[in-house]
Symmetry: C2
Subunit: 368 residues, 2 copies
């Protein structure tokens, strides 16, 4: 049976060929640079997709929650960094994980180090979370006092071993161009190397871990880094394409949505596919309006983008409203299926929690 016949409701299509090419490209970049690729699995959240990475030499992963770590530990991964400030309210689960896998945790204050240690029953690696310019969380890269205090606290307690310093250069998302991404990423790398040197002067050896898909996709060099942790690259999405981190054709997922109403007089098509499927992440539309996703025509081999102006212009809980052109309005019927490339594939995948491949195979996410 063709995959199109299996679509009854909003369904996240996955083009395995594109996804494997995305994984391979990043694995080759990392290998060429001699850095470890520790991909962030929060994007796909699937044991089956996770297993595809092993063929490209990936043995260590990143996740964003203790629960996700439990899911991937159950799927056989034994080297897992939880790239989120450690949640002291999940110590029972953290201790369970620490006994089974090489567990990496993030800390960003001496107080958290001490309180974490008091409640740990097994050894864990810790990364000092650094704010290298994004401003979300972490020790500010110039705050040498906090950096050294936290590293010293790690060295003074029993269950923590300093692995290194880690940042997410999320500021690359606003860099405006591929050149801008390279510049911002390079600036973050320099800040991390400075923090590493400050630690080294006081006798603390620390590896450097960086992660963000724009920077890891576009950087000319990973010199000075030990590890990269991109996640979104496995699927990419319209935001990455707009940033210049991927081509439109690299996007590996599309949300297939049944057409439920046509309003030719207004140039609009109503699809079953709303905020509970896409989330509400958006980009500016080509004509100044809002863009919640770009429409693609589906065929037995996958999808073909329609004009840039054909987009999801608004979202309710379950409805999406497509701003269509005359060609699309003339060809589509209620009961057909249209595809939509998501703005932010991580959030769309998190909402759908399963995939349909172009070969008609179902892939599930781990339990949330």
């Amino acid at each position: 049976m063709e995959y199109l016949d299996l679509i009854e409701r909003p369904t996240l299509l996955l083009d395995r060929r594109k996804v494997l090419a995305n994984i391979e490209r990043m694995a080759v970049r990392a290998e060429a640079a001699g850095v470890r690729l520790r991909p962030h699995f929060k994007t796909h959240q699937s044991a089956e997709i996770g297993a595809w990475f092993r063929d490209y030499g990936v043995a260590a992963i990143t996740v964003s929650s203790v629960d996700m770590a439990l899911g991937f530990a159950a799927a056989g991964w034994d080297d897992i960094t939880i790239a989120f400030p450690v949640n002291l309210r999940q110590m029972a689960a953290i201790n369970g994980l620490a006994e089974r896998v090489r567990l990496g945790l993030l800390v960003e204050s001496a107080e958290t180090v001490r309180r974490l240690d008091e409640q740990l029953t097994a050894e864990v690696s810790v990364w000092l979370k650094i704010d290298a310019g994004y401003g979300r969380t972490g020790i500010h890269w110039e705050n040498e006092v906090a950096l050294l205090e936290t590293a010293a606290a790690v060295s003074e307690v029993n269950h923590l071993k300093l692995a290194g310093i880690l940042t997410h250069s999320g500021q690359t998302y606003g860099a405006g161009s591929a050149e801008g991404v390279r510049r911002v990423f390079g600036e973050s790398v320099a800040r991390m190397k400075r923090a590493q040197a400050v630690l080294r002067e006081q006798g603390f050896e620390a590896a450097v871990s960086m992660g963000d898909t724009p920077g890891c996709s576009l950087a000319d060099s990973f010199e000075g880094l030990d590890e990269i942790r991109p996640g979104n690259f496995v699927f990419y999405d319209l935001m990455q394409q707009q940033i210049g981190a991927c081509r439109l054709d690299d996007i590996g997922v599309a949300l297939a949505c049944p057409v439920v109403a046509l309003h030719s007089e207004r140039g609009r098509i109503v699809i079953y596919g709303g905020a509970v499927h896409f989330s509400k992440e958006l980009l500016p539309g080509p004509d100044g309006g809002l863009n919640f996703g770009r429409v693609v025509a589906l065929n037995e081999n996958g999808w073909t983008p329609l004009g840039e102006e054909v987009r999801v212009a608004s979202l309710s809980q379950e409805h999406g409203i497509i701003q269509a052109d005359g060609d699309l309005l003339a060809s589509v019927k209620v009961g057909d299926v249209l595809g939509v490339l998501p703005i932010h594939s991580c959030l769309t995948a998190d909402l759908l929690r399963r995939y349909l491949t172009l070969e008609g195979g179902r892939i599930e996410c781990i339990n949330k």
Copy 2:
């Protein structure tokens, strides 16, 4: 054990007393006006919370998908309207439902009526979906040709019975004030009565069904209506409070989020609670910034709002960043739990899919 001790990760707290008061208030309004309350269950999506409505005389419900209808049919509801343009790709499930319950479907074109009828094996009620000013979908209230054509098509086929005309006056959300909501809602009612009269002149009897929480919470009168279908009122949220549809104290859910990092120098607190918990619905903040939720202090009896300026100012996939004041920064520690009133409770509940009551009870949503 107190409910606070049960919180390990982002957890949607439910204040049963407030929720029951919200249900009762709307049930009393409907009863006083002599209209049927057919509440929209997309907000809570829970069989257990659904059962609470029975004590207030509710026997008929609204849902927004075929899958949700299946879930509530399994929970014993036998009069269900799927308030979404009928999805012709789920005919097997629709036929299964039509054999077991009084099923209401929405149509908005003669073509869809005919194609639906061809594939139905049991009788269903249909509502003509009217666009009474919101502009999302439906037959435009002034389009008498389409209205009469669609009604005639219903009368000419075998499995469809015309129940009435139905609209969602979503334009009340932008009405700007309680008085504005009443005016916009009244305008929609007048448009629906006009469409009803057009149908009646041609011999088609049609009930009138209206649904939106601001209008149903604030309207002075439901005269001319047969049925109201509000949903969000069961919990309300910050958007409803801003509109004037509820008081801050009526909001029945709050997302409890562990504190994972403090940045006193920047006036910020990092919580475990992000876009995958809140969604990305937002309001303008009091100081011109963004507002993804208002912070409340949790105690054994529930929650107490902090100052209006204390809010979630940005969201990543799992992180929330609270813009805090000095009092909060001085009192909170990593590992504590803060509550956040959601901007849009429907989306937050859809993401969390379970609740924790203040008595420590767990309530699950139906399977998605």
